[in-house]
Symmetry: C2
Subunit: 333 residues, 2 copies
Amino acid sequence: MKKIINDPKNVVRDALYGVAAAHPQLRVDHAQRVVLRGDAPRQGKVALVSGGGSGHEPLHAGFVGPGMLDAACAGEVFTSPVPDQILAATKAVDGGAGVLHIVKNYTGDVLNFELAAELAEIEGIEVKAVVVDDDVAVHNSLYTAGRRGVAGTLVVEKIAGASAEAGASLSEVADLATRVNAVTRTMGMALTSCTVPAAGRPTFELADNEIELGIGIHGEPGRSRVPLAPAADLAQMLLDPILEDLDYGGSEAVVIVNGMGGTPQIELYLLYAEVARILAAADIGIVRSLVGSYVTSLEMAGASVTLTKADAELLSLWDAPVDTAALRWGVRG
Amino acid sequence: MKKIINDPKNVVRDALYGVAAAHPQLRVDHAQRVVLRGDAPRQGKVALVSGGGSGHEPLHAGFVGPGMLDAACAGEVFTSPVPDQILAATKAVDGGAGVLHIVKNYTGDVLNFELAAELAEIEGIEVKAVVVDDDVAVHNSLYTAGRRGVAGTLVVEKIAGASAEAGASLSEVADLATRVNAVTRTMGMALTSCTVPAAGRPTFELADNEIELGIGIHGEPGRSRVPLAPAADLAQMLLDPILEDLDYGGSEAVVIVNGMGGTPQIELYLLYAEVARILAAADIGIVRSLVGSYVTSLEMAGASVTLTKADAELLSLWDAPVDTAALRWGVRG
């Protein structure tokens, strides 16, 4: 295992020191491992709390800031944050208008966020939750009942965050987040495994000419192992299950070509070119796009494609100002 | 070789299709493989042209836009762009106030930019050049006479770009770029090799517990191969030669912890925490920082640290608005 770390047991703790040092506009609760907006709580604003296992950076801490999340809870690598963390984050950001939990659909995450929500309700904080399950690859997995939450989580967090910033109520923000999840689909693939620091060995093995299609962001199995193919064919393999699952025909979409952590930008642009070509032929207009590594699996080589069917309201909220470490537009200074 | 590509011969061409599709505010000359500001040429503004071998993305195309570069020339992977490309870029962006070439110090790049400058001068375009050589690792290498240009190029491009945007003359921008280069130092390391697509095999081999200290961004040899060490020690190994080479003591610095392409963000933040700790102990204030993969070597795992000694003028230009694919702040919309 070759990683730029100190003790494998302290990777999350040590990385959070770096997040704090690099981003003075954020506040890091090192005891609870929660990354917060520096100006939290915002009185009267619905607050958004997300989080999950670490190793998917910039998700979620990189999306904390005005226009997106109020707090992110960092679990151990590929391990759900615990209820105490989530409760601490919920209390720290509550500005009296309620708190939305944005939860990726993994059994541990869903359970721990539910427990934290119950504890918060006891303390008088209104909490709603949206469970993101955008991954079309598999319906159940090692970590889930139902579909997994993957890169589409970014879209839910961005659009719900803009709505909260604009003053929507907790019910409105929760309904909107649910609606975004319902029109968002993702499919991914891995070219290599990743290595969880505490495990010290690759999560799985792939042959030299083999990819895992439908990979999960923890390296859990996908749909099938197939031979490595040209990027044009890979793009088709990623888009086919998305387009079979939801009718995007004739509509406009926000498209994300997301790197898994170990795939360089030149390959992501190359894949995006193929995705754009296929979508143009399918009469799907790309209205906004991101090409980069946003929802990762440590150093895994691979990529995913996400499509969100966009209407005028969703697009306007996507375009609204956001000021976070990893997504930033529409703001001065 | 596992990469998301089509034909290894067409990687640069195919990736530029993706750059064009993802960034409608840019214009891509596919015949010449030049990425341009959409609004080039800007009359009366000094224009900045950079470029180099591909495989270092987002450098340079990711830095084209208001406040930074006017054009970037994409050579084949790890191969200098040819004089015709550079000439085409120079002519396309010249707004009558002259053109600055920002050249990383590699023999081929320096020669080809010089030839292009001579051809441009014949056509009546005034050209000056700055050669960036921020890498403290080695004084000569497989690709260079003298020090190599590496991640510090980003700082030169950002600050010179801001100066040009503010209306400085060609001489002023060139002098400023030279001054930034003179106060910028970088040191890098590799944990793994990378594979040039056309070669099809790793550029070099490292043992499982070994790193290459002072690696070049083409995988060319550095200072030494040493055992992999904890991040705290790695940070010291990267900073020592920088601090021995230029006295940063008591001053303020812009600091970049840069990923080589295959190293995930969680490790870069962890390394940044160690860098920040060492610099604080050395009484060097970090006034601005970047933590991410900006100047890469395909999928190489590894990182570099860059320090630029900052005064009020350089800091003000660093903070000036920039609107590019990979660096963006201070702008609305």
